[in-house]
């Protein structure tokens, strides 16, 4: 058997897992591993400028490809800087393996230089974690780490590696395990057939059904099957923020995103439904509004791989625990077998009602001929310039909601945002990860002047690796979502929500070696977009000034039901 040092084992395990990229930042505790990385070239290491960005880049890569993202950081501050990225991936169930250096084993607990109890610090935000206590265990631990990260409900796994376990002079036999056997971990592989049939019976009887599709449809590769099922049944479909693209955005049956900033028709459809088929969604507080008033007439069929998600917030009448893809496959087969039809007459009336709701708000917003541009116009211009076919990453805030509402995602894995944790600073590094995965693809990062400054140092990484990301900075000179809440609930007292002394983003982009553009007039917008996207091999930073007073609508009214919404600053349901 081959004899390898711990450091070589780590790198070989990455090779054996087929890892293309590892995003990271070197430091004392991981120097042996970095030396082993240097001596091979099948795994490319991407040097970021801050460890948080490494985690988001790996996360973006994972969301765009479905493959696990891989990160390496050093002990202490390197490791703690990765925490936000771990938590972001954990909340959105993204497969990720983070390797963190640790001080040598005999120093652990002594408050050594750059020592942090990373296993302890990360515990609530990882699916699982390992500490390497013996270099001989590295192959098995790495295999388990990737297995756990990518199976069941995916999530980030941390491997903490004390420096002495990677010492170059200590060699051990290396054999990468072919299979993992863990008596305590066996993710469910099939949904219960009886439950699936029961659910189908309920769907066939439904008069006002709706399919509510979440991020699990995207992550679980269920988009195609879900689309088939929806088309066969002619049911309306609504996507969550995480589920956008799981069902084509431009499909006639798509009623748009639901929830806090969902469309009027999506929230009305949900509220008025008699059967909800929730697929890979978690009925979280941004969707349900007040759980006591949630969809009073609806029977809930809930498909999810994680039993703990089912009946957590809302009681499911028909729970189905299983992988979305397999359950949908079986449901389609059962539908063939069933041979029956859903209630066409009732559906016709249901669609009439939904089409009526579509006319009520229709995602309209006021524009002002002479006034400043509206942020919605920027997203619509982006949609036009990219022909709806870009990978769009976003940060967090108003721009994120506008990018979710006004860009129609027809394919899964195209919309990449931090939905659960809501991490500002996610967008740019995530876009880097996507661009590495798909070098030829158009990647746009929709951000704001607040969020972009949380990881702006990554413009340097983008230059180093020639990543032609397009940064769409929707600049309203304010922390827009905070400001909106302050307008609506705090008497317009804008406590700390404005951005004074903004940098000159054009000069900043240029200083980082990129192209900067400043756009202030609507008549320049389309032209500038075209120009920017024509620069195929350059990063273009578009600093686009918009109306700081704009709000995101619809907006659910706190503590109400799903149908209680503000439709503009003056109209409510």
């Amino acid at each position: 058997m081959e004899m390898l040092s711990g450091a070589e084992m780590v790198v070989r395990a990455l090779q054996d897992e087929g890892v293309e990229y590892i995003f990271g930042y070197p430091g004392g505790s991981v120097l042996h591993i970095y030396d082993a990385l240097f001596q091979q070239d099948s795994v490319s290491h991407i040097l970021v400028r801050h460890e948080q960005a490494a985690t988001h880049a790996a996360d973006g890569y994972a969301r765009a490809t479905g493959k696990p993202g891989v990160v390496m950081v050093t002990s202490g501050p390197g490791a703690t800087n990765a925490i936000t990225g771990l938590a972001t991936a954990f909340m959105d169930s993204i497969p990720m393996v983070v390797l963190s250096g640790q001080v040598r084993s005999d120093w652990i607990g002594d408050d050594a230089f750059q020592e942090t109890d990373m296993i302890g610090v990360s515990r609530p935000v990882v699916k699982h974690s390992f500490m390497v206590r013996d270099a001989k265990d590295i192959p098995e631990i790495m295999k388990k780490a990737f297995y756990i990260a990518t199976t069941g409900r995916p999530g980030p796994v941390l491997v903490d590696i004390p420096k002495d376990q990677t010492a170059p002079n200590v060699k051990n036999p290396y054999e990468y395990p072919k299979k993992v056997k863990m008596r305590s971990y066996s993710p469910v592989s099939r949904g219960h057939s009886g439950q699936i049939r029961k659910a189908l019976d309920e769907l066939m009887k439904a008069k006002r059904p709706v399919i509510y599709a979440g991020g699990g449809v995207v992550q679980g590769e269920g988009s195609e099957l879900l689309t088939q099922l929806a088309h066969r049944l002619n049911f309306p479909v609504t996507n969550t923020l995480m589920g956008l693209g799981g069902f084509p955005g431009t499909d006639r049956q798509n009623v748009g995103m639901l929830g806090m900033h969902g469309t009027y028709e999506a929230n009305m459809t949900m509220h008025s439904s008699d059967v909800i088929l929730a697929v890979g969604a978690r009925l979280d507080d941004r969707v349900t509004n007040n759980v006591k008033k949630f969809c009073p007439g609806a029977k809930i069929i809930h498909i999810d791989i994680d039993p703990a998600t089912i009946s957590k917030n809302i009681m499911a009448h028909i729970p189905i625990v299983g992988p979305v893809q397999q359950v949908l496959e079986e449901m389609l087969a059962a539908l063939d077998e069933h041979g029956g039809e859903p209630d066409r007459k009732a559906l016709e009336r249901w669609w009439e009602e939904i089409d009526g709701w579509r006319k009520v708000h229709g995602m309209r917003y006021e524009t002002n001929e002479d006034g400043p541009m509206k942020p919605q116009q920027v997203v619509q211009a982006l949609y036009k310039a990219t022909k709806g076919d870009a990978y769009v990453t976003s940060d967090v805030g108003q721009h994120q909601m506008f990018a979710a509402q006004y860009y129609q995602y027809d394919k899964p894995r195209r919309w990449i945002n931090s939905g659960g944790l809501g991490t500002m600073g996610f967008g740019l590094p995530a876009a880097m990860g996507v661009q590495f995965a798909f070098p030829e693809a158009t990647v746009a990062c929709v951000t704001g002047e607040g969020s972009i400054q949380m990881n702006i140092q990554e413009l340097s990484t983008c230059l180093q690796y020639g990543l032609p990301v397009k940064v769409i900075n929707i600049n309203n000179q304010a922390l827009g979502m905070v400001r909106q809440w302050q307008d609506m609930q705090y008497g317009g007292r804008h406590s700390q929500s404005y951005m004074e002394s903004l940098p000159d983003f054009v000069k900043l982009a240029e200083a980082y070696g990129h192209v900067g553009m400043k756009i202030t007039r609507i008549e320049d917008l389309d032209g500038a977009m075209e120009e920017a996207f024509a620069l195929k091999d350059r990063l273009v930073f578009m600093d686009i000034y918009v109306d700081p007073t704009e709000h995101v609508y619809p907006m659910q009214i706190a503590d109400g039901s799903m149908r209680d919404m503000w439709l503009s600053k003056t109209e409510r349901t």
């Binding site: 296993i119 609530p124 994680d306 039993p307 703990a308």
Partner: protein
């Protein structure tokens, strides 16, 4: 409602902290906790008591089951079961109280395991409410120190929690 959750888990460093962490992280309460390796040294048996309605307990058990190191678990309070707790209690025993305390120990089927001229150290096993009752019977003013092991439990009959 009080529940006794009994968990079979990998006897590995860090496993216990994950169980404890889950409770604090999700806002659940641990009333008592006891843990020790089983006859199979790779496995630990952890017994904890907590309070909650059916929904909450369902969530707790689902989340516990998700922990990678948890192999199996059972809510013992769902069926007939035996629960025991061990208490070591040091009480003042002077004058007339010496005989009085001794009588109470006999009634509760405890044992005096250490004696000085002024103090008895008593060992008592039983369900938690029996131990509570003993403290009540001798009067709290007598009590100098109480050490309780936390509940251990096992199902009655043929039902076993094993691999």
């Amino acid at each position: 409602m009080r529940r006794i959750i009994s968990i079979l888990m990998e006897n590995e460093p860090g496993a216990l902290s994950r169980v404890i962490g889950l409770f604090s992280q999700r806002g659940y309460n641990i009333e008592t906790l006891s843990v020790a390796p089983t006859e199979d040294s790779t496995l630990s048996r952890l017994t904890l008591t907590t309070f909650g309605n059916d929904l909450k307990i369902e969530q707790i058990t689902k989340h516990l089951n998700k922990l990678i190191e948890v192999v199996k678990l059972v809510d013992l309070t769902e069926g007939p079961h035996i629960e025991r707790e061990l208490m070591l209690i040091k009480v003042k025993a002077t004058g007339a109280q010496r005989a009085e305390v001794k009588r109470s120990v006999d009634i509760f089927r405890g044992q005096i395991v250490d004696v000085t001229s002024t103090v008895y150290t008593i060992q008592l096993t039983g369900a938690s409410d029996k131990l509570d009752a003993f403290i009540g019977a001798i009067g709290e003013t007598q009590v100098l120190e109480v050490v309780r092991s936390g509940v251990s439990g096992i199902a009655r009959g043929e039902k076993v929690l094993s691999l």
